[in-house]
Amino acid sequence: MPLSTQYFGKNILITGSSRGVGRLLAEYLTSNGALVIGFSRGESSLAHSNYRHIKVDIGDPHSIQHGFRNIKDLVSHLDILINNAGVATSQYAMVMLSKDVQEMLNVNILGSFLVSREASKLMRKNKWGRIINMGSIMSSLEPAGGSIYAASKAALITMSNVMAKELSSLNITCNTLALSGYPTEMMDSLSPEVLKNVIEGLTIPRLTTGDDIFNVIDFLSSDRSSFITAQTIYLGGVN
């Protein structure tokens, strides 16, 4: 993994930190000197002296409040939030179950909003903060089967852009990294046909690598990116 000094002394919250991209980022950021607090429903197997895990269900507002009470016992402020937790169900609208719709909206939108709301309160103390929302290229590609998932990720972009305005005077930026296909359990939930079509339709038709993600996280987190806000960066040539 590349070594970046920009994270030394930074307190970072990552949601959905026990698996997939969240886990990857927790490993990357702890190994680069950040204190990382991870939220996820289950335990985390990440054993690093810079990692603190709190069991939080992002789909449950009470659980989020509980998580932030615990954060306040660990750190006095937050520097960076990576809203990574997400739920994806790929299904044709006519047979999509309402419980799956509700779960996607609870985690992808309501949960991300509540975490951003609480995190921004812990960023304003230092008048510095970076909120990075993990979006998806699906919000732009709008593939069949992705009606609610794509809509929830589009809503996440809008939420991020509005919060960017509200938080700009506190030197807190809000941006979205719209991920392309990265091999995780979540990607397994997509039908192979949808996935194949998505990847083949990219300007650069390949899966995402960890370094593709680190590169954008480094950029958006950087001190030098204080003038970069309300932006969405799509991986793979989507726009």
């Binding site: 409040q65 309160k121 304003r124 008048k127 509200e166 005077s169």
Partner: protein
């Protein structure tokens, strides 16, 4: 148990915090009569939000009571809690008394 003087101090501290972020010619007077919203208030909406966030957090730390100062109930009070520091103090004491945390 939290008394009136403590609640008032929490609000004053929030106003002082805000003053630290404002230029010298835009300082807010810190007193019981300071208007917070509408009328003669010099606070914009984001400044008011900053004060509310500070007050809610400090009250939660002092009392373990999670009071919300911006819910429907607050907005539907006959006398707005945000008229001035005094009315906000009264409203917070009312909420805390319901938690059994005010004297």
């Amino acid at each position: 148990m939290i008394d009136r003087e403590t609640v008032e101090k929490v609000i004053f501290d929030a106003l002082r915090n805000l003053n630290e972020e404002r230029p010298t010619n835009e300082q807010i007077k810190v007193s019981s009569e300071t208007e917070l919203f509408g009328g003669q208030s010099s606070l914009d909406s984001l400044s008011l939000v900053s004060i509310v966030v500070d007050i809610e957090a400090e009250i939660a730390d002092l009392s373990n009571a999670e009071v919300s100062l911006t819910d429907e109930r607050a907005m539907s009070q006959e006398i707005s809690p945000f008229n001035n520091v005094n009315t906000l103090t009264n409203y917070i004491l009312l909420l805390l008394s319901e938690y059994g945390n005010a004297t």
